[in-house]
């Protein structure tokens, strides 16, 4: 256990070393929220207006909810794994008594804690500036369900990143490029971080809901908003849990095969 506490600590420190980068990145984050906020705010300029079952309060809560959920779920370090595999840096860990999955999961958590701290501060600032209508959830059961859905989201994202990072075992040239398509296109669009999935046509919605992506952002936010409850909530959590299981088994198989062809470049 102490092993992973130490990894947490060193990882946390490292994130601070490039302060300027860090600040720029946070600014980008805030700008993004501003932009999304104003787009939706314009669409719903009339507070009574309802589109796709969202009124102004709900959609703006969605936007702010995304901010926190993104900070928790999408802030991850595990994309560096592909680089480790491609460059042979993985060798540093394989020769040590440390579990590589747990190592990166710890680093992810450390990154998330850091992000959460900043996202909270930004949230408060933006909240004071924009004074948006925001739904503070008070139902304990809903909050609990939300936390469970967040845990699933964090694990699913971790597993997806790790799976993509295994590609360089076979195609080392690809490096971190293996993430580009998924993180930029699929995750952003299908996870619900740009728009709620349920504004899409029903058929498309069901397809997307069967993939692991909406369980990253859309599902937890909807749970928080109280839009998903009862059997739908239970069903959604089951789908998310199944994806955790499937991806975990798949990752282990892929990783074992990958290590056998691992070329340990360099030296």
């Amino acid at each position: 256990m102490r092993k992973y506490l130490q990894i947490f600590k060193i990882s946390f420190e490292e994130e601070f070393t490039y302060r300027l980068n860090f600040i720029l990145w946070r600014i980008r984050n805030v700008m993004q929220i501003f932009l999304t906020y104003f787009i939706w705010s314009t669409v719903y300029s009339d507070p009574a207006k309802q589109i796709f079952g969202y009124d102004r309060t709900k959609i703006l809560t969605y936007v702010f909810g995304i901010m926190i959920v993104r900070a928790l779920v999408l802030s991850a370090r595990a994309m560096d794994v592909s680089n480790d595999v491609a460059s042979g840096n993985l060798s540093n860990y394989l020769t040590k008594p440390v579990n590589y999955f747990k190592y990166w999961f710890t680093r992810d958590i450390s990154s998330k804690v850091l992000n959460l701290i900043f996202a909270t501060v930004e949230f408060i600032l933006l909240f004071l500036v924009l004074k948006p209508p925001f739904l503070f959830q008070t139902n304990i059961a809903v909050i609990l369900a939300f936390l469970v859905s967040i845990i699933f989201a964090v694990i699913i994202y971790f597993l997806i990143l790790f799976l993509l990072s295994s590609i360089p075992f076979w195609i080392p040239e690809i490096g971190w490029g293996s993430h580009f398509l998924v993180t930029v296109v699929i995750v952003e669009a299908l996870s619900g971080s740009l728009f709620p999935i349920n504004i899409l046509p029903q058929g498309l919605q069901s397809i997307i809901l069967a993939t692991p992506f909406p369980y990253l952002i859309y599902f937890p936010v909807e749970v928080y908003l109280g839009n998903i409850s009862g059997w739908a909530l239970f069903g959604g959590l089951m789908v998310a849990a199944s994806w955790v299981g499937v991806l975990w088994v798949f990752l282990n198989v892929v990783w074992q095969k990958g290590l056998k062809v691992y070329q340990s470049f360099g030296g």
């Binding site: 102490r2 092993k3 506490l5 130490q6 990894i7 060193i10 420190e13 490292e14 070393t17 490039y18 042979g88 840096n89 060798s91 540093n92 394989l94 020769t95 040590k96 008594p97 440390v98 290590l259 056998k260 062809v261 691992y262 070329q263 340990s264 360099g266 030296g267």
Partner: protein, 328 residues
């Protein structure tokens, strides 16, 4: 346990995709990749006793690094048997990993942006080292390698030699019983090289650690390794006493001198065999036992600005030793 390392009939093949140059080439290889098999190791066998310090030498691409990586569990052997401390390295048993260390001169484990002490602390946690022994080890290693004052400097601000010494501290903080060193002195200046060598020597002695060391630098092996294994093209060519090899194939030493004028230059022949003479540089080869005498004669009788005595390069010894071998 009578043998720390056993390697028997080890074969390692790499599969590489060949690619023609240019964009069309890249495209072609994407559609119909041409696979080629590289036989890096073609049946390597040797064994090493606990506490032995063995030099592992051979030309570029001979298979040294591949062997060390297989021994530390990084590469999956294509065929053959490998055992280190009675463990199968590939299984990466934590008990095994706690007792070994692989140091590669051109790879680093230190966290680039943080002071080296942070990596050491991390390793302390990873290897589960009790605080007392950690503090002792750290003190001892940093003193021996003369880096106590640099512990809190971010790694990226260290010089190559300083970093390399820090790498050694990081690699040895858990007191491994088996040490794989792949060109540990590459890129270091003479003084740093000597420090690292002395250190390896002491470490081997003090902890009765088993050390397998590769190098292209003769100086690394002289006075350090009693036994050498020579590998070439994935096969073992020689496995035996280093001294025998030197006696047979490195009977000479090389004296390199810089002269300030051409006086007396024709008499150089009397000192030793002239290998190269292009004023002001002169390279002589002299019998090993007479090297010191020859050097002092040179200093007395010739206008010498600068002089070094060097060993014959490893590659040349290998060439000499094996050119006589009949080709099959």
């Amino acid at each position: 346990m009578d043998r720390a390392i056993i390697v028997d009939g080890l074969v390692k093949d790499f599969e590489v995709t060949e690619r023609e140059p240019g964009l069309t080439g890249a495209f072609k290889s994407l559609i119909s990749p041409k696979k080629k098999i590289v036989n890096a190791l073609k049946g390597v066998s040797f064994s090493i006793q606990p506490g032995e310090l063995v030099g592992f030498i051979g030309p570029n691409g001979a298979g040294k690094t591949t062997t060390l990586k297989t021994l530390s569990g990084l590469l999956y052997p294509t065929a053959g048997f490998v055992e280190v401390l009675e463990f199968d390295p590939w299984k990466r048993n934590p008990e095994f990993l706690k007792q070994i260390s692989l140091v590669m001169g051109q790879k680093n484990q230190l966290w680039w942006d943080l002071p080296a002490i942070e990596t050491f602390e991390l390793n302390r946690a990873i290897y589960d080292i009790p605080t007392r022994s950690y503090n002792e080890n750290l003190k001892e290693l940093t003193e021996l390698l003369d880096v106590e004052k640099l512990l809190n400097t971010p790694v990226r601000k260290l010089s190559l030699g300083q970093r390399m010494r820090m790498e050694l501290v990081a690699a040895l903080i858990h007191k491994p019983k088996v040490l794989f060193l792949d060109e540990p002195t590459i890129g270091l200046d003479i003084i740093a090289q000597q420090k690292v060598r002395d250190f390896i020597y002491d470490y081997n002695r003090k902890y009765n650690a088993t050390v397998l060391l590769t190098s292209h630098n003769m100086g690394d092996l002289i006075n350090l390794a009693r036994r050498v294994i020579i590998i070439n093209d994935g096969k073992i060519l020689y496995d035996g006493a280093f001294e025998d090899l030197i006696m047979q194939y490195a009977k000479e030493k090389i004296i390199k001198a810089t002269l300030s004028n051409e006086n007396n230059i024709s008499n150089l022949e009397k000192i030793g065999k002239i290998k190269k003479l292009s004023f002001p540089e002169v390279v002589l080869s002299v019998p090993r036992s007479a090297a010191a005498v020859a050097a002092s004669e040179l200093l007395q009788n010739f206008p010498v600005d600068d002089l070094t005595i060097e060993e014959i390069p490893i590659e040349e010894i290998i060439r000499k030793a094996f050119k006589s071998e009949p080709k099959k």
